[in-house]
């Protein structure tokens, strides 16, 4: 705890602890299922976005097949759990299968650079979705006994733990030796390799961590949802959601995906009441603006605002530069 407080500053460490404590007490304080459902969705989205952020934000690879790993986690966990395996074990197995699959295809997939990696993984995700849809065409519904015993608070706490785990993993990664290596690969793969960093190894590490968390998130989804088509968690919109939340929040930062997830779920839930799918319109537009004008996302916007409104007083706190900004907005001088 002392190191945590030391690294973050007392105030921030206290704020984080307070937030986690408040979230942990929420089911006891608020009995309303709609509130719990909402926070559950935020937590699931944070996990999904942070997991995507590891490969995209730190290792610099845009993975458009992320849903495949979410889906694999859901498929394995759901199957095992319905057959009587304890949910934690089932989720672990789902994550293991997702990671194993990622490592199997990883070495080949990482031969593709930049946009080719992106479209290659997109195709891979679609192959898996179609195949799973063909093999398991029936809707998967929980047995009656499980529905009777369904407790939302169990799902909620699991989501809270998982979100905390993902955020901590990314926070630990950001300053670790491995994480710094990944960022070196992101900025310039050749230069990183020349200075002794094994690019492929680091990218595989990032992919393994990312898909493991995505697999867990998939397991959580399988535990949460009463009935859905097995191909649903493989749908490309899971990847797209993760991408939007991460980019709008701030790719390559720890806070970005959290901000993005909160905003996204909020807009989604509240706009959906009146206009179905309107949030996609808003977020698609916001996303384009982000890529063109504000490559650091909301995190960068907040930084700028802080600098703008605090011209006097203490010098602005030193923060990491918007990590991916260099990669995504390199310009040539004509």
């Amino acid at each position: 705890m002392r190191t945590l407080a030391g690294r973050l500053g007392i105030g921030r460490a206290a704020a984080i602890l307070l937030a986690v404590a408040a979230l942990a007490l929420l089911p006891l304080l608020v009995g309303r299922d709609d509130v719990l459902n909402f926070v559950f969705l935020v937590l699931l989205s944070i996990t999904l976005a942070e997991s995507w952020n590891i490969v995209a934000g730190y290792a610099g690879q845009v993975n458009l097949g992320h849903a495949a790993f979410f889906g694999l986690g859901a498929l394995v966990a759901r199957t095992l759990w319905i057959k009587g395996t304890p949910i934690l074990l089932a989720m672990g197995a789902g994550a293991a299968v997702a990671t194993a699959f990622a490592l199997t295809i990883g070495a080949a997939a990482f031969r593709l650079r930049g946009a080719y990696f992106a479209i290659g993984t997109l195709a891979l995700g679609e192959i898996l979705r179609t195949t799973v849809g063909n093999i398991f065409p029936e809707i998967s519904t929980l047995p009656t006994a499980s529905i009777v015993g369904y407790r939302l608070s169990h799902r909620y706490y699991l989501a809270l733990v998982l979100a905390a785990l993902s955020v901590s993993a990314v926070a630990a990664l950001a300053t670790s030796r491995i994480g710094l290596g990944m960022q070196a690969v992101r900025e310039d793969e050749e230069a990183a390799a020349a200075s002794g960093v094994s690019a492929l190894w680091l990218k595989l590490m990032a992919l393994a961590l990312s898909t493991g968390l995505a697999g867990m998130a998939g397991g959580l989804f399988a535990y949460y949802h009463i009935s859905y088509y097995p191909s649903h968690p493989f749908g490309p919109h899971w990847t797209f959601d993760a991408l939007l939340m991460t980019f709008i929040g701030g790719v390559g930062t720890v806070r970005g995906p959290i901000l993005g997830a909160i905003l996204y779920v909020f807009l989604k839930e509240y706009l959906a009441v009146r206009w179905v799918d309107f949030h996609v319109l808003v977020f698609g537009g916001l996303f384009i603006v982000t890529v063109l004008l504000l490559p650091g996302g909301l995190v960068q916007a907040v930084e700028r605002a802080r600098r703008l409104f605090a011209p006097w007083g203490a010098a602005p706190r030193k923060t990491n530069p918007p990590a991916h900004a260099a990669t995504f907005s390199k310009r040539y001088s004509e």
């Binding site: 845009v62 080949a108 031969r111 593709l112 650079r113 930049g114 946009a115 080719y116 992106a118 479209i119 290659g120 997109l122 195709a123 891979l124 679609e126 192959i127 179609t130 195949t131 849809g133 063909n134 490309p236 797209f240 991408l243 939007l244 980019f247 206009w275 179905v276 799918d277 309107f278 996609v280 319109l281 977020f283 698609g284 537009g285 996303f287 384009i288 890529v291 063109l292 990669t327 995504f328 907005s329 390199k330 310009r331 040539y332 004509e334």
Partner: protein, 288 residues
């Protein structure tokens, strides 16, 4: 017999794959920009033809004369508002940023189409839509045959445009080496603008043809983007007719796999070919 009937239908849809891919290929080859919203532009072209038919009773083959220029104009607009900013970056960043922007555009256009026109499946019911030409036991739908011929004609026209028109040559020079093109006095930015507009125009035309023999809904974008990408990766850049043949090949491959493994797997075969080609040539055939 069923197989040869399937093959004929495969060739016909393959012509549209080719047309869709040619548009993407022109944009990628010249601007080095990957517009993943290409499928959504096809979808919009389809809706254009659909509404012209439903509201004004315009024959969709005739409405091509309207949807193609309108799509060209939309391409001009999109370039000015979005993609014109992307081409300022160096090539690697350009591909990555265009991918992201195209992606945002795809989501936005899809959501907009759902808002405006609902998610319903639509197709144009022509009075002569059911006409078939019988060749022995095989039935060739006239409408789809006409679409195939039109797709081929459009690609031929594009070929002539790129080889004989002054600006067509400039576009090809820019695709070859934009720096050298700049040095010889070509306005590279304008070549970019024209190439992007032409690519978008072809997407609109492809969408119009899709709405005639097949059906459209707001979600067909991703599918068509993937089809176009598969064909471009297969056929490489540079030859318009090569891309058209690549489209025919994909159509036939789908028909064969549907016959061999059952209908639901027809979507998978193209993707498997795609991933396979990428693994053998990690930069696709774009890399040259």
């Amino acid at each position: 017999m069923i197989l040869s009937q399937q093959l004929i239908l495969g060739v016909m849809i393959g012509g549209l794959y080719g047309l869709a891919a040619v548009g993407l290929s022109v944009i990628f080859g010249v601007l080095k920009v990957l517009n993943v919203a290409h499928g959504e532009l096809i979808m919009l072209g389809g809706y254009g033809a659909y509404w012209l038919f439903a509201l004004l009773g315009l024959d969709p083959f005739a409405s091509l004369l309207l949807t193609l220029p309108l799509s060209l104009l939309m391409g001009l607009g999109l370039y000015c508002v979005l993609f014109g900013f992307v081409v300022r970056a160096d090539e690697e960043t350009r591909v990555k940023n265009s991918l992201l922007i195209g992606f945002g555009l795809a989501l936005t256009l899809h959501a907009l189409a759902v808002r405006l026109w609902t998610a319903d499946e639509r197709s144009i019911d022509l009075s002569y839509g059911g006409t078939v030409i019988g060749v022995g036991p095989l039935a060739i739908p006239v409408v789809r045959l006409a679409s195939l011929a039109l797709a081929f004609a459009l690609i031929g026209a594009l070929h002539l445009l790129l080889t004989h028109w002054r600006w067509g040559k400039a576009i090809r020079a820019t695709a070859e080496d934009w720096q050298a093109a700049l040095l010889t006095g070509i306005d590279v930015r304008r070549a970019y603008l024209l190439a992007f507009a032409i690519g978008t125009g072809l997407a609109g035309a492809a969408g119009t043809l899709v709405s005639i023999g097949y059906s459209i809904n707001p979600s067909i974008g991703l599918e068509w983007t993937l089809k176009a990408l598969i064909v471009v990766v297969l056929a490489g850049l540079g030859s318009m007719f090569g891309t058209f043949v690549g489209g025919l090949f994909l159509g036939v491959a789908e028909a064969v796999s549907a016959a061999a493994f059952g209908g639901p797997y027809r979507e998978v075969v193209g993707l498997v070919i795609f991933v396979g080609v990428l693994l053998i040539r990690p930069r696709g055939f774009f890399g040259q």
